[in-house]
Each structure stands twice: as C-alpha cells, then as structure tokens.
Symmetry: C2
Subunit: 272 residues, 2 copies
C-alpha cells in the first residue's frame, strides 16, 4: 500500500483515504463521494480494529461482508481497498499507542475507556501507511472526528481532514452498521434519538439557552421508549467537548443509547 | 520546515534528521557525520522538550547555547537547523501523546515516569514536520533508541533509523551535555561508569554468565566512589529491555548514576 501511495504521490496525484470498519451502507458511500470530490484517487481501508473494542463489546460479532463491500466499492469508484489483517497491524510485541488525553474520556469515552486510544492509534497507523493528502470522516462519529482533528493538529500531520454530514434513513435514523443488530421493534423505537435531537434544535432555535432544560427534554423523550437504555445525552462545546451552560457558540448535542444488542450514537452540531 | 522538506523530497533528495536538545558536543558531531554519510541533506533540530522533563528535573537549567550550536552546525555541514519554540510545539489545548507501553517504564523510565512518553511524542512530531528518510540517534541513549525503533515499527513510519556509537572523552566518560554540571571531583569519579561497564564486558568475555555476579561487580565498583549515587545497573535483552539471566543473546548493560547535580547514563551492547 505504501509503495502504491509513494508512486501516486511522486506522480503528483492527490490521495484521499476513508478509514472504515467495512459493512458498507449509504453513510460510507457518502464519505466516498466527498473524498472523490476532493482528490484524484480514493483509498478505502477496511479494518475492524480490535484495540478499539472493550472486552465485553462486539469485536467478534461486528458485522463483516468483504465481498459485498468490494462490490459496493467498485460501483462507488473506490480506487484501492486496503484490508490488512489484525496480526499484521498488531504483530507480537506491539506496544505503541496514541492518546488524546483531554478528549478521550468524555462522552462515549466515559463508557468505552480505551476506545478512542484504539481509534487514534489505528488512524495514525493507516495515515502513515496510506500517506493520504485528504482524510474523510463522518459527522455521525462526532467525538471521533474531534479527536482525530486534534491528533492531526497536535502531531503536525500534513493532511487535510474533511468531516461529511450524517446520512439518515428516511425516518431520520442515522445510518450505521450496528443498525443491523436491531429487531423490528427496536428499529421503530430507535428513531427517537433523531427526533429528540431535532426537538432540542427547535427548542434552541426558539431561544432556549438553559442546558438543563434542553438536556432534560432530550432525556425525557428518549426515556419514553421502553426499549431505550440511555447512556448519555450531552450538550458540549464542539471542539473541547466540555459541557456548555448557558448554551452558546459552536455546540454539539450528542446521545448514546442502547436498544437491545445495539449501542447507537447520534448528534447534531449547532451554531448559536 | 515542512515546505522545505516537501521541495527537497519532490526533487528526489534524501533527508536525514538528527533530533537534539542542543548544546552540541563531539557526540552530536558524530551523529551529524553518520547522518551526512546516509543522506543528501542534513536537518538538525534543537528543541529542549519540556514534556520529557519531570517537575523536579533540569528543564530550566538544561544547558543552552544556540549561537555556539549554530557555529558548530555550520562547520559540521548541517544544512538546516530547525529550532522551534515550545509554545509552537505545544500550543494551548495540546493533548496528544504517544506511549510505547512495554518499554517506557523500564530502566530510566522507572525513575523518570513520563520521560519516554515525552520523548516518543516529540520525536513523532519532529518526524512529521521534517519528513526525513533517515533519522540518527546515539547509542548513549540506548533506551530512547529502542523505544523510537519500536515506535517507528509499530506506527508504520516510513523511515530508516540508524543508531550511532557512543562518543567518549579520552578517559572513557560518555560525551553528554550534562557533563557540564560536574565539578572536577565528580568529573574524575564519573569515569567509573565506563570502567564498570568495561569490567563487566571482560567478565562476560571470560565466560561469566550469571546475571547477579556481573551486576554485583558493576554495582560494587560504582559504589566505591563516594560521590556516586547509583540509580540502577541492569543487564537486559537489547530489544525488550527485560532482565536476562543467565546472560545470552543480544544484551544491553545499562547504568544510571547521579554525581551531584548531574544524572549520567551509559551502556554497552554485547552479543553473547
């Protein structure tokens, strides 16, 4: 992969990378489109990264479909699919990890203590192997995007990061490989995450600035659903991920909620 | 700096980087020579890296002499001196750190708990800014070299690492900016580190393979010196830095010892 990239770079071609865990859906396809619009060539990596899953999480069961992914990638105009094996990425004796200390234990990080260390580490490895000029991430994984942006800046990585909008199902549910886990009942209830976020948006647009009020209404809406197990609903500064009260500036409203086996996240970004 | 490197690379020039904390002595000059022999252009960075010093350590007092360094660099044929400021390398909000977990708390790391995290982080930043093909480190800082080599491998960095031999004063003391701190009495005693290591080498060459025996003789020789405060004397595997007993394979014999204000380190590498 590095040899391919070196040759492309030597020929002046602009390389985009979209790092993924595979099991492509419309969300991924949208990232590919954004990437292609900003580069000459698109590399997509598929790697279900073991070190970003906790011991009780769904690493083994995470949905995989490499053949289906390959077909979708070809249709989408992906130039290179990079699919390394776990024992090549983390050989015996592997010891190096990247941490973004101020951001990694907030929001999802409070529930997944080693998750973002694993995410930052694999992204840095993929950046070093693929040597892209441009990397594209999705807004759906908002905290991941903030952390990778911070890492790129802090480690002086010479690449541009683009965050592409969340792609949603017709009813508003954010596209996610983990939607696969939902029973039809859970699937029906899961749209509440989007509805609660949009309700919060309207509250704020109508002038509400009290953190507790907005957050309280999000929580109440989600908790009306019998199958929803809310992990968190937070309103934070978009770059520092710190709680903001009263609401002002660039903010992120983020939720994480379990429906049965599926842990779903969603968010909206607002400028007040 | 990155723009300069990009242009050099685009023109096919091979760039070497020697990262330093300045206050050049013969040890640095030897690294520069090795680097120049392996590249078209030599970049030397001077940066006294605050995050690799503990709160009670000598960050503020670390010897600095940028004018003298510049003159020596010019004489030595250094092409670029890169001297960033601390608040540029670590601006407000800085949060990203690299750890080499299996190696960073051994040997010196047991006495300097955040030191190698700071070293790995600044080296990665400098590599990303300067984009060298070749980096050169000194064997005197043996643990640093092992950690940086591991980081390069683990993070898939596309660069070659060369470790150059330790340069010594005529009596055998390893060249170090911190020798500056020694009083003449301490300076006289400090040569015991080299003598003890050479004694250990002879013991092993004459067939001794017992860890405790070899280590015991090193410790005894150093402790004969009234001004020596030994931190550790260890015999470890050269790549894992783990204690090796009985002695075999590629080993590193490493010592750290205080003489007054100066904390000095030295080592020898042996193949048994």
């Amino acid at each position: 992969m590095t040899a391919v990239s070196d040759e492309l770079r030597a020929n002046g071609r602009v390389i985009a990378l979209v790092p993924t865990m595979g099991y492509f859906h419309r969300g991924h396809l949208s990232l590919f489109q954004v990437a292609k619009a900003n580069a000459d060539l698109l590399v997509v990596s598929i790697f279900v990264n073991p070190i970003q899953f906790g011991p009780a999480e769904d690493y083994r069961g995470y949905p995989r479909n490499v053949d289906g992914d390959r077909a979708m990638a070809q249709n989408a105009g992906v130039d290179y699919l990079f699919c390394p094996e776990a024992d090549v990425m983390y050989p015996s004796g592997y010891s190096t990890y990247v941490e973004v200390t101020a951001l990694q234990h907030l929001l999802c990080g409070a529930f997944r203590p080693h998750h973002f260390k694993g995410v930052a580490t694999i992204c840095l490895k993929l950046f070093n192997i693929v040597k892209p000029h441009v990397v594209v991430f999705g807004q759906k994984d908002a905290q991941q995007a903030v952390i990778i942006r911070r890492m790129i800046q802090d480690l002086n990585l010479d690449l541009e990061m683009i965050v592409a909008p969340t792609v949603r199902e017709p009813d508003g549910l954010a596209a996610s490989s983990r939607n696969e886990y939902l029973t039809s009942e859970e699937r029906e209830e899961a749209v509440v995450l989007h509805k609660a976020l949009e309700h919060a948006r309207r509250l704020i647009e109508s002038g509400e600035r009290r953190y507790e009020t907005v957050r309280g209404e999000i929580v109440a809406l989600i908790q009306e659903k019998p199958l929803a197990e809310l992990e968190y609903a937070e309103i934070v500064e978009a770059d520092t991920l710190k709680k903001v009260d009263p609401l002002r500036g660039d903010i992120l409203i983020a939720v994480a909620c379990r429906f049965g086996k599926a842990r779903l996240i969603d968010n909206i970004a607002l400028k007040i």
